[in-house]
């Protein structure tokens, strides 16, 4: 029972961490290596508004998410657009931005354990004899809502359809009058907001620490590689695969090996099926 419950929770947490990365890559083909840094930054900004300026918690979260969206858009418009199409440069540029954010936070004194966000709902409940705190239930609920919302957004809204068009074939989308750079900016903004949302949902379970940024980036990359780079649904499925594999590893081998699961998943996927589970486009390239 504990494997099932915590497997679902862990999987949804991984999906939350990875969705923003998958979305940005799927549309703009830019691997946003600043993803983990944005996750952590949203936590610190929320903390600053909440604890430093004494704003309402919900308002602090909203402001933080809006700021993350603006940051994502600016990063694309002023940095990544210049190196778009040059894969190595994209990685170096985005990773450098992430590094600057994280190490800048550390340099600015955001270190130690005193940076915490309160849980949305205090307390815990027993399900099948297993204790679960309400915040994890909130994570599951929001996670499911975000996945559904993202699906609806990309299927029933003009912008969402344009984003999908870009993801499927950028040249065809251009011919249909879709502004690819604008869509990439929108994707980057939404991706950054999703990273920020993952942060404000998951960080109340622990502390806001700079190191989380690096871990979240590795986990997001693992999920996206296993799911197939650019595939959002693949990312969700991969999150469940890795999420359950991690929990099974903790139960039967020990917590020590939890992070190894994600790294092994990357290695095995790249050896056995480099396109991942749903990386259709890449798979076609591989066949050719």
């Amino acid at each position: 029972m504990d494997i099932l419950i915590y497997g679902i929770i862990n999987s949804i947490a991984l999906a939350l961490m990875a969705l923003g990365f998958a979305l940005v890559y799927g549309i703009s083909r830019v691997p946003n290596f600043a993803h983990g840094a944005i996750y952590v930054l949203s936590g610190f900004i929320t903390w600053t508004f909440l604890r430093g300026l004494g704003l309402n918690y919900a308002l602090s979260i909203v402001i933080s998410l809006v700021l993350m969206g603006v940051l994502g858009a600016l990063l694309y418009q002023f940095v990544l657009i210049r190196v778009r199409g040059m894969a190595i440069s994209e990685i170096i540029a985005s990773y450098a931005i992430g590094l600057a954010i994280l190490e800048g936070l550390r340099w600015g004194g955001f270190k130690g354990m005193s940076y915490t966000l309160p849980v949305f709902v205090e307390g815990s409940v027993m399900i099948g004899g297993i204790p679960i705190d309400f915040q994890r239930i909130v994570v599951v609920g929001f996670g499911a809502l975000i996945v559904l919302g993202l699906w609806a957004f990309t299927h029933f809204t003009r912008i969402g359809l344009a984003l999908r068009g870009m993801a499927q074939d950028e040249r065809a989308a251009l011919m249909l009058g879709i502004d690819s750079d604008l869509m990439a900016v929108v994707a980057m903004a939404i991706g950054a907001m999703l990273a920020g949302l993952a942060g404000v949902l998951l960080l109340p379970l622990g502390n806001i620490v700079v190191e989380s940024g690096y871990n979240v980036l590795i986990l997001a990359i693992a999920v996206c590689i296993v799911g197939g780079l650019g595939s959002w649904m693949g990312a969700v499925l991969a999150a469940f695969l890795i999420g359950f594999a991690q929990i099974l590893t903790v139960v039967y081998l020990g917590s020590h090996y939890q992070m190894v699961v994600a790294l092994l998943a990357i290695i095995f996927t790249l050896i056995l099926k480099p396109s991942g589970l749903f990386g259709m486009q890449k798979e076609l390239e591989e066949r050719v």
Partner: protein
């Protein structure tokens, strides 16, 4: 008018005489203390602050008498980053070497902090014949084993704080008190994947089993772990009554928050638990860390009356830094500077061989008891009685305060159980 002028002159002259000794000391060439510390982490910054406090006090009192010349201490800190996850040991060694070669450190005080890095640095210190006092975080028993085994090579290294084997002795004695008072006898060990914690957890498991405790399991966590829920469920399902924690990462406060949220009926006992050592722990866990026990290695890192110097140091630290002594490296780092001053003054020289010979003869009543080094292995001599040796300290968080509960000779309160553990 004339008399008034004489009066002013007399006052100025008197003031000049009062200030002169200090000014003279400061004018002399300073003695450079190289401090290799992981400054972004508790065991680095607490040591940094404590060293600076001691240096300021000594300099204000005129400095160090080196063969009749008063010389001030100067502090050079270099970040070893050795407590950061994923940073290789070579970074710390580089910092140590830079302090010796570039900053021309006369002595080293402080780290490296992580046992792996400190052990590796010992050969480097021997190569440069630099007297070094380890003061924070370096708990591995391998230190004094190495010095005892190859004295001529490692004789320049001293350790002024407690180490893992002594910690286990103190913890087992405290466990016994808990067993006698509350009848608890089942322990689950949770350790961070670093040398001192793995080693400490292993030793504690063996010793506890030998003393009739049921050790239900050991869970090892990589540095930087932020989710401990499955380990806590394992402990709960196994029927653990004490969670023995060995972690120096700040994320360990998350473990306590999750322990509270899950209402795990086991008393958290940090053999090394950096998060719970800090005064900010209460706020960081929003009070969820109440009842957490934590070994702060030496007295003076939490309020007690171990010696007349304990609270004097405690209050001076709080006044200077605006926060109470925060981690296990505070009182020992502070004392290291005084012990070094004492040895230099007796040696009358900065020569490594002369100073180390005097350090071996140290016998000083300090912040956490009588400070003496074992001349064969250069480990500070521990004791449960501050009159006999360096005394340890185990605290429990009670109603927002750090209350020393062990050893009895310095305890300020009794160990309590959380409400959900009371029958």
């Amino acid at each position: 008018m004339k008399m008034r002028g004489f009066g002013i002159l007399a006052v100025l002259l008197a003031a000049a005489f009062l200030v002169l000794p200090g000014t003279q000391a400061l004018a002399e060439e300073p003695i450079t203390l190289g401090c290799p510390l992981s400054t972004a982490y508790l065991y680095g910054w607490d040591a940094d602050r404590a060293i600076r406090l001691a240096v300021d006090e000594i300099n204000a009192a005129g400095g160090v008498n080196v063969g009749g010349v008063k010389r001030p201490f100067k502090v050079e800190v270099m970040d070893t980053r050795d407590l950061e996850p994923g940073v290789p040991v070579s970074e710390a060694l580089l910092a140590v070497e830079k302090l010796i070669l570039e900053k021309k450190a006369d002595f080293l005080v402080g780290g490296p902090v992580r046992s792996e890095a400190a052990l590796a640095a010992m050969s480097l210190l021997s190569k440069h014949k630099k007297v070094s006092i380890f003061t924070t975080g370096f708990l591995s028993p391998q230190f004094h084993a190495m010095v005892a085994k190859d004295y001529d090579k490692f004789k320049y290294c001293f350790r002024i704080h407690g180490e893992a084997v002594q910690l286990v002795k103190e913890i087992m004695a405290c466990f016994q008190e808990i067993k006698d008072k509350y009848g608890l006898d089942k322990v689950f060990i949770m350790v961070q994947d670093v040398a001192h914690a793995r080693g400490g957890g292993e030793v504690l498991g063996k010793v506890a089993t030998g003393k009739g405790w049921q050790v239900l399991g050991t869970e090892i966590y990589p540095t930087g772990t932020t989710d401990f829920s499955m380990g806590l469920i394992k402990a709960k399902k196994a029927g653990a009554q004490i969670l023995n924690i060995w972690m120096d990462m700040p994320e360990s406060s998350i473990l306590l928050k999750q322990w509270y949220d899950m209402k795990v009926p086991a008393l958290p006992f940090g053999s090394t638990l950096a998060a719970a050592e800090q005064p900010g722990f209460w706020k960081a866990t929003e009070g969820k860390g109440e009842y957490t026990l934590c070994n702060v290695v030496n007295a003076g890192n939490a309020p007690s009356d171990a010696t007349p110097w304990t609270m004097k140091f405690y209050d001076a630290y709080a006044k200077k830094w605006g926060v109470e002594p925060e981690g296990l490296g505070s009182s020992s780092s502070y004392m290291a500077v005084y012990v070094l001053k004492d040895a230099i003054e007796r040696a009358g020289s900065l020569d490594s061989e002369k100073v180390l010979a005097e350090l071996e003869k140290t016998d000083l009543m300090g912040v956490y008891g009588r400070i003496r080094f074992d001349p064969k292995n250069h480990q500070v001599i521990p004791s449960f009685d501050p009159k006999e040796g360096a005394v340890g300290s185990i605290l429990q968080w009670q109603a927002g305060k750090r209350v020393v509960v062990f050893p009895k000779s310095i305890a300020k309160g009794e160990i309590q159980l959380p409400p959900w553990m009371k029958k």
